[in-house]
Symmetry: C3
Subunit: 335 residues, 3 copies
Amino acid sequence: MKHFLDLLGQGAENARDLVRLATRLEQTPEPTALAGKVLGLIFMNPSLRTLASFQAGMARLGGNSFVITPQGSWQLEFETGVPMTGNAAEHVREAIPVLASYADALGIRAFAGGKDLDADLAEPVLSAVAEVCPVPLINLESAFDHPCQALADWKTLDDLGVPAAGGRFVLSWAQHPKPLPQAVPAAVLRMAAMRGMDVTVLRPDGFGLPQPIMDEAAAAARASGGTVTQTSDRASAMDGAHVLYAKSWTATDHYGDPAAEAALRAGLEGWTVEEDWFGPAAPDCGFMHCLPVRREVVVSADVLEGPRSRVIAQARNRMYAQMAVLHRLLAKGEN
Amino acid sequence: MKHFLDLLGQGAENARDLVRLATRLEQTPEPTALAGKVLGLIFMNPSLRTLASFQAGMARLGGNSFVITPQGSWQLEFETGVPMTGNAAEHVREAIPVLASYADALGIRAFAGGKDLDADLAEPVLSAVAEVCPVPLINLESAFDHPCQALADWKTLDDLGVPAAGGRFVLSWAQHPKPLPQAVPAAVLRMAAMRGMDVTVLRPDGFGLPQPIMDEAAAAARASGGTVTQTSDRASAMDGAHVLYAKSWTATDHYGDPAAEAALRAGLEGWTVEEDWFGPAAPDCGFMHCLPVRREVVVSADVLEGPRSRVIAQARNRMYAQMAVLHRLLAKGEN
Amino acid sequence: MKHFLDLLGQGAENARDLVRLATRLEQTPEPTALAGKVLGLIFMNPSLRTLASFQAGMARLGGNSFVITPQGSWQLEFETGVPMTGNAAEHVREAIPVLASYADALGIRAFAGGKDLDADLAEPVLSAVAEVCPVPLINLESAFDHPCQALADWKTLDDLGVPAAGGRFVLSWAQHPKPLPQAVPAAVLRMAAMRGMDVTVLRPDGFGLPQPIMDEAAAAARASGGTVTQTSDRASAMDGAHVLYAKSWTATDHYGDPAAEAALRAGLEGWTVEEDWFGPAAPDCGFMHCLPVRREVVVSADVLEGPRSRVIAQARNRMYAQMAVLHRLLAKGEN
């Protein structure tokens, strides 16, 4: 394993190994496994969980970390072949090799541009970084992936005893005041498919995830014995569900067109997860969300704080999942 | 000791123990006492001393820390029962349990709202955080308290040999271009009373500290053998003073009314501490201030840099006081 | 060695010793040399390399660090004798002794004011900090110096086998959309002279470096057996050059007059380093730049990424050079 840019590329067996390693590190601390190692974390976008869990996880393995943000540094250029006469003072093709010369591994967060779907699907920033990064690189959330979240969620599903074969996983769109990136739903969808579950994407018309993402999920499901379907019908989706994973995301059909997107979103007030979503058809169904989450918009407070909710366990597993990734990338004798 | 939210709640005996532990850690380093421990520091407001002294203190005990700020993250919601349709992307009831799952202890700084005195006296943010924080929580300055400052100041008074019984402590209001929070004067007043000193609050009319704070200080003084009085007469206040502790704070009588407050403050140019404040009645009186301090506004440069000044010692003691708190909360066999 | 404020003040022999120590630390890690030590880094201006390389370097020596920025703290006052009624909440004469009481060494970055050349040449901020700093202080880039960059560049020249005596070093001005500080060219010029090289400053009319800087460089060259000249003629400058060090800087002749400076800069489009700058007269000439660098403005992408380019090696050497400085300042038995 050189980089950790996506979960799909690891293959199901390696993903299962990483989950096992995360569980081992949760149960048996290894406080000197990464002694002397340094992790560089580059955040082009805000973070709470990712920054804290990576810095804490690195410390718990005996290593150190530093953080680069646009607030403390300057704007980076990611395009090649353009004269840098604008705001960006440094090109990624210098910045990354330089930071890599100080660190044993780097992580980068760079959200989607949000204007051009095909451009974002090509992961231009993550690709530009990976191309010039001579040390292991970790995706801290990119345009269409968030593999650390997906790996942590896989561990949470295992911890909860949700079956892989035959497990019913509903990924549901939810209401939100702003158009949000599709990185988490795209990551979670492919993870659930790769885990071998029966996955349903529940979303209003116009909010189906992009076809290339659906195709990758379908292929992963075929390989693992799972299935992927999508619907706008809540009752059928929730029937027998083990887990409802809620998340808002921007409308694919109006990607890069904020006015049209907002108009489509405006009529969807019913898409706030409430207790009555579960009903007799899914009485023990768990509720998952990657956080941050807006209460009474995405989900009611009683579901979020109630017995179905797994959101704190999910967030906690971020640290152990990422410790496993760091351990695999950096510990002696592991690669 | 589960949390460290205020000094008063520790009781005088525990406070004295913490000061003793701070002195011990100053004299005898314990570079591995908190090996493997992680502290999470959440700053909703700016910091210089608190951030640096906590990160340095944690490192000097062998532990690690991470920092969350609104610049690098997003706005948090502290109220319950409101739909989160505004700027806040995450509720404290998720953010705190999540960060607590990465850290062995958390600290939070959240200043007063400054609009409603009774609301601020109820410490809404600190209470909301403490209610959902499963790990030890440290108050890094709240609406009406700053116990780390108070504990450090107690140590400074001990270091200087200022007597507890019979020690004369003057807490004086001072001029400032802006209305400032009352957290430090409220913390220092109660600390001095709890230490058993004779405390005088010297302030212009309209700037008396809120009655609930005065009542708590009076009760602490009764228990410790000290006294608490207030006056606007400088000469009587300074007579025989061992220590003048200067600080500006907003006018309680116009709390939340900036225009009226500014008008009241405008006529108080004489409230800049100068050498002639001390005079023959308090020749050896020390000068204290929590910092940051505005020169030639709160205090003259010659007093601030002169032989009376204890401000650097006070700031230095922040690190040792906080190391004692961390040691008590987190070291093995200490709780 | 008490402080590390400039390279010139170290003397050539000490500078060579530091380069040797940097090379030793590059080849033979000393992961516990600074165990228990804390470095405080104060950035009044943005940073990418300096922050990351100091935090990583300190970690690689077993120590810890904290970072203070204006975003997380507040504005500092550096002038004395002025009533602090403006935006600055704290004076450097308190802030520095306080931070020094938490740290074993401090570093500060404070760029030139850019309005008054003579004032900036006096290094008012760095001087004000050094005057009140009781622990070792490191210059992280000041108005007219950047000794960590200069020391790293010296090591890079050694690593590349560029001769000291007889080595031909061209420091060239380059085009840029903004007027930039002169700290790096001033630091690099004096370093190259101190190393004993034959140094040519290649720049358009009006962009000659300030006379006091040129005089210091000339004196250093005399002492080391090198030479310093300046010209606006590229062909003569590049003839036989071992290294072309490119950097943009503001026009000295219009220092503090942005409109006049921009007018002078506007006609200098030819000052973008291209492959044809080297030609048959300097076929093996290396290309250096301190970074960040704007592609197709300061230098063409093909030169920057081509075989002449040493920019990543330069940046990498920042960490080892700074580890040597930290080791010399803080390791036991070294001072």
